[in-house]
Symmetry: C2
Subunit: 219 residues, 2 copies
């Protein structure tokens, strides 16, 4: 409850709220959600505005065939824009959100959400910027899927996910979902990359050998 730092201060963009708004939000107790839990699926009704405090939630778009594509990840301090969509546009969720780690989140009820929008400029800015960011990022996903070849998308994904030592912890399936492709194609591409000496492969991990070599593929 009276933690050293209140959750409001761990959510960038909400730390600057004015006094009255702050009081109203402070009353809300964060909840925790276990890893693997599905927060919502297509067709679910929207009831709350969610803000993430800890952990990571991935939001996927699912095709009729079961293929999935990663729309974006929600990281601490970010709100779940899908819920804004529902609260304001009167539509249900059209995507699926999965907790990739244990997750701590604050659920703001619809009525408080709407009233805060009216009374707090800082809150409004927070919501709008989150919105703008998601629209941008979904447009970027679209741009990549529509216009960029697999090899370049894969190289970019590997560089993005590599840790300091160049290790990428991801299965071929996960990479495929992240860049909007399928496992088989990723397996084959990775084999080509490994024959070129740019990466080396292991079960569940990929070791980036040449960052510059991969970067050169992105064009």
């Amino acid at each position: 409850m009276t933690a050293a730092t209140h959750w409001l201060d761990r959510a960038p963009g909400l730390g600057t709220l004015d006094g009255e708004t702050r009081r109203q939000l402070e009353a809300i107790r964060p909840i925790t959600i276990p890893k693997g839990h599905v927060l919502f699926r297509p067709g679910d009704e929207v009831t709350c505005f969610g803000v993430l405090i800890g952990g990571r939630v991935d939001v996927y778009l699912t095709g009729a065939t079961g293929r999935e594509i990663l729309l974006y990840s929600i990281t601490p301090g970010e709100s779940c824009v899908q819920s804004t969509l529902g609260l304001l546009g009167e539509d249900d969720y059209s995507a699926e959100a999965v907790a990739e780690t244990d997750v701590e989140a604050v659920m703001i009820p619809r009525s408080l959400f709407l009233s805060l929008l009216g009374t707090s400029e800082a809150f409004r800015t927070f919501v709008f910027q989150a919105f703008a960011k998601r629209l941008q990022s979904v447009m970027q996903v679209l741009e990549r899927v529509a216009f960029i070849r697999i090899e370049a998308r894969l190289a970019a994904a590997l560089l993005e996910r590599a840790d300091d030592s160049g290790l990428v912890r991801a299965t071929h399936q996960e990479l495929a979902t992240a860049i909007g492709s399928v496992r088989e194609v990723i397996s084959r591409r990775l084999e080509i990359l490994s024959k070129k000496g740019l990466v080396s492969l292991d079960r569940g991990t990929i070791q980036v050998v040449s960052r510059t070599g991969l970067a050169a593929l992105i064009t």
Copy 2:
């Protein structure tokens, strides 16, 4: 100037504004933009919040190879969400907007836009709903491009664009852009559809012969 109906009443969602907000907006004079004019391109800086009153503006995403894909069309009463993005998210435009007809629009300066967001709930709702709608529609475009086969997308596009008599006025290139494909593929698909007797082809137009036949392809 003193037209029979003020432009505010021709923009659904803005007709219900409260008195003060209305006064501030009434002062703004609509501008006209000739058909074919490019309203903005990727990288342009955002200065105004645009609301369309008459005509149609199409917004495209452009790939490195010059390929384009239609993100959405703006019709009367709708705002240009791309500009909201820029005004709130501090990013420049990443898409391109083209006037498909002569266009009448109102440009709300940034400062007034931000102040209205704070003072008018109706205006806020207008902006948010437009935002939500666009995010939904961009996600739909992504879903279609990523998961739906060309044949189904084409059939849907034809049915959507057919007038009462089943006539579609569009070139193969336009259809290709609308569904995120390329001209050659559309030409070939259309030929197949015409051999099946579902459409008949002419330079610049396609005649839908069997709506039910096309509908069956959408699955």
